[in-house]
Point group: C2
Chain length 445, copies 2
């Protein structure tokens, strides 16, 4: 009986664990994690999201928790604590060493999505009156303790106010005896503690900084935000927008790790709202019961007409929402966008109306419908002219709704395809039946 | 006559230029740029996207182009060249100095969206037999030339094969006389030249590397990909997915910088396809003309029924697409997702059907419709049961379509809200009229 087959199985499950992680139930994740050898487990733990790390820490026996908590940098420990139930926090805090605990407490005072909630308090600090050589050997000592990044050194006065910054490359290439005061840059880009993380990520991605200093209202340096936090923010914000664009509330944890009921709540709320909104289409159509009774053929094109408004509106709102999120367009650009989209909506409407004329002709000619093939031309004209109106209106409504939402301080990303479709469906019906009354008056109606 | 007012105006427009950049026509961008003083202009130029840099370089007088081209790192120069018209490239290439030109040519051989197209050939290289102190002073000399990053030093053999990597922090804290061979890590995570940029960005964001080495099939090191390229990729890929989810082809340049005709092309293609798809709803309804003629009240709920399928499908497809893009779910997880979504679709359907029963009751009670209020209960039952069927089907179709698209090697993000809506509209009609035939048989039909 050799232990090899079992070992083989263990190694296999280690490799697979990372891949299968997201679809495993929490207990199996922890079981798999505990089968890893120590160095593998270290690397694996570090590469997990705060949510994954919380699952592990809460899943392992109490005696092992200290070990894992102490592996974390203060900002990561703060993120983990925000993922565990309120009542478990004090116990986990006690596991940290005293200085880290103080740092973590300070970080927990900030909201998760503001600059203070992202930053690490461990940055390299030097004084303006050191020489370059003194600064390098001072940093060498600091580097032995854990520092979040060794890319920039921040020059602080005795009150911890930020005076300037110097990159390691500059320290390396400067004259050894020169004072830091002469080497440092004083035109530092800083962000306030309460800045929204989305704006912070825009600044980092525009200027390509590895780290950005966070200062309070009096210029005291509080910490740094590093590029890796920013990559996470960019992904998080995109996920949030994409979920909203799909017509639902954004999930806070990954899809597969969201429980059935919380997930249902995120989805069914919007779904019900949209459903109630669509009830107005039934009410609107109540006004046209006579028309439908007299010309049933009109009912056949209802889904076609209203969907063309929803689809063109969805395109327009998506374009505007993403451009807003990327900072390409601002609130005051609305008139510029409006003119562009009117032109765009008109062109699209005309192209679709030409397709409509051909298709309506083909459908009648092929005998798909049972009635009224002696009015084909008038019916095609009704459909085609409605399509122009509906597509134009859908495009304008879709492009303007994000501006309206932003003006009233709601998230523009809520102007989802389903919401736009619901909003333009009623007006689509009104446009269609109004056209029909004009064009088919005295013929079918 | 003091020059002050004019200066004031110039400074104002410099500040505004960054803000207004995206909505200005190209000529005005270049004009504004040329009004900046040199140091401002440098920083401004560097912070632009490749597309913005190309606008500037092509807009300034020929004599000034060399100055701006030479400010660029080889990878940025390659990106810029991919933004200018084919015929302008040779001239711009000539403006670069000889070594940079060679590096840029090598980079241009890669596709824009693969690892080779993202990488910079300027990385810090050392030999395994150097001591720590020798390595530091060797790097100090390299740092005077421009290096993309001074965060990691890569240890190469004489054939430029990658042996290991050492971070600057490690060099700093290691014993000065120790050979690099003993300090370096040999378990380096590398990416091949042809790896898709989306996968590269997943790796960087999972492991939080400042830079990732790119190697060819024989282990020769070709360059590094740095975090700032990855932030751009993450944003680019999210934008691409969001545009597709809005039911259109992804724009390659920012919304406001896309010309009218290219924009129309990106939008009207999908719009026409969806429109032709919706024509099938007209054909499907042709089968139910008799039913509509006999019970016009059935037509009133058509938009409500089919939109509930589209909306629930849009939620499901959005969730699955984003989870796929983030690497949370894989192709083989389809069965797991299917079971989850069937349960989810059923619950949502039941909740919406209860709302439907109340709303239909209220609409009839309020006298919104002109007919058939003596069959309210049966009509409500028809609507409610159809809603359950349509929502269930929409959810399942929406969650499975991304898997189908991926299986046939298409982009799952093409399973947009408008596409799902179009696909489930026909089946929604069939479900609705089939329910009506069963429930209203002998009463209204």
């Amino acid at each position: 009986m050799t232990p090899q087959p079992e070992q083989e199985q263990e190694r296999l499950s280690t490799v697979q664990l990372g891949e299968r992680w997201s679809i495993l139930p929490p207990e199996e994740r922890v079981q798999g994690f505990q089968m890893m050898d120590r160095s593998e487990a270290d690397a694996f733990f570090q590469s997990r999201t705060p949510h994954g790390q919380a699952t592990i820490v809460m899943g392992v026996p109490r005696a092992e928790r200290r070990l894992w908590m102490r592996l974390l940098e203060p900002d990561d420990a703060a993120d983990l604590l925000q993922e565990v139930p309120e009542e478990a926090r004090p116990e986990l805090m006690q596991l940290l060493d005293e200085p880290t605990r103080r740092e973590v407490s300070a970080l927990l005072a900030y909201a998760e999505d503001e600059a203070g909630g992202l930053m690490s308090p461990r940055f390299a600090r030097i004084r303006p009156d050191m020489t370059v050589d003194e600064a390098i050997s001072y940093l060498r000592r600091q580097a032995r303790n854990s520092l979040e990044t060794l890319y920039y050194a921040y020059v602080l006065d005795r009150e911890q106010r930020l005076l300037g910054v110097v990159s390691f490359r500059e320290l390396f290439t400067a004259h050894p005896g020169q004072p830091i005061r002469e080497v440092m840059h004083t035109d530092v880009i800083t962000v306030p503690e309460t800045m929204d993380q989305e704006i912070v990520s825009r600044i980092v991605s525009e200027y390509d900084f590895v780290a950005l200093p966070v200062v309070d209202a009096d210029g005291h340096m509080k910490g740094i935000i590093t590029f890796d936090d920013v990559i996470d923010v960019v992904e998080e914000e995109a996920t949030e927008d994409i979920h909203k664009l799909g017509g639902m509330a954004a999930l806070e944890v990954p899809y597969l790790q969201t429980g059935f009921l919380p997930m249902l709540k995120k989805r069914v709320g919007w779904l019900s709202l949209l459903f109630v909104g669509e009830m107005f289409t039934a009410a609107a159509m109540g006004h046209y019961e006579d028309e439908i009774a007299r010309a049933v053929v009109l009912a056949l094109f209802i889904p076609l007409i209203i969907s063309s408004g929803g689809n063109s509106g969805s395109q327009a709102s998506t374009l505007v929402i993403r451009a807003m999120a990327l900072g390409e367009i601002r609130l005051r650009d609305w008139w510029h966008i409006m003119r562009r989209e009117v032109l765009s909506g008109l062109s699209q409407g005309v192209i679709l109306s030409l397709i409509a004329i051909c298709m309506v002709g083909v459908l009648f000619w092929q005998g798909v419908f049972q009635s009224h093939d002696h009015h084909v031309f008038l019916i095609a004209a009704t459909v085609a002219s409605s399509v122009i109106g509906v597509v134009l209106w859908g495009t304008v409504a879709g492009s303007m709704l994000p501006f309206v939402l932003r003006t009233v301080r709601l998230d523009p990303a809520s102007a989802s395809a389903p919401l736009i479709a619901t909003l333009v469906d009623v007006s689509g019906l009104v446009i269609y039946f109004s056209m029909a009354r004009v064009i088919l008056h005295g013929v079918l109606l």
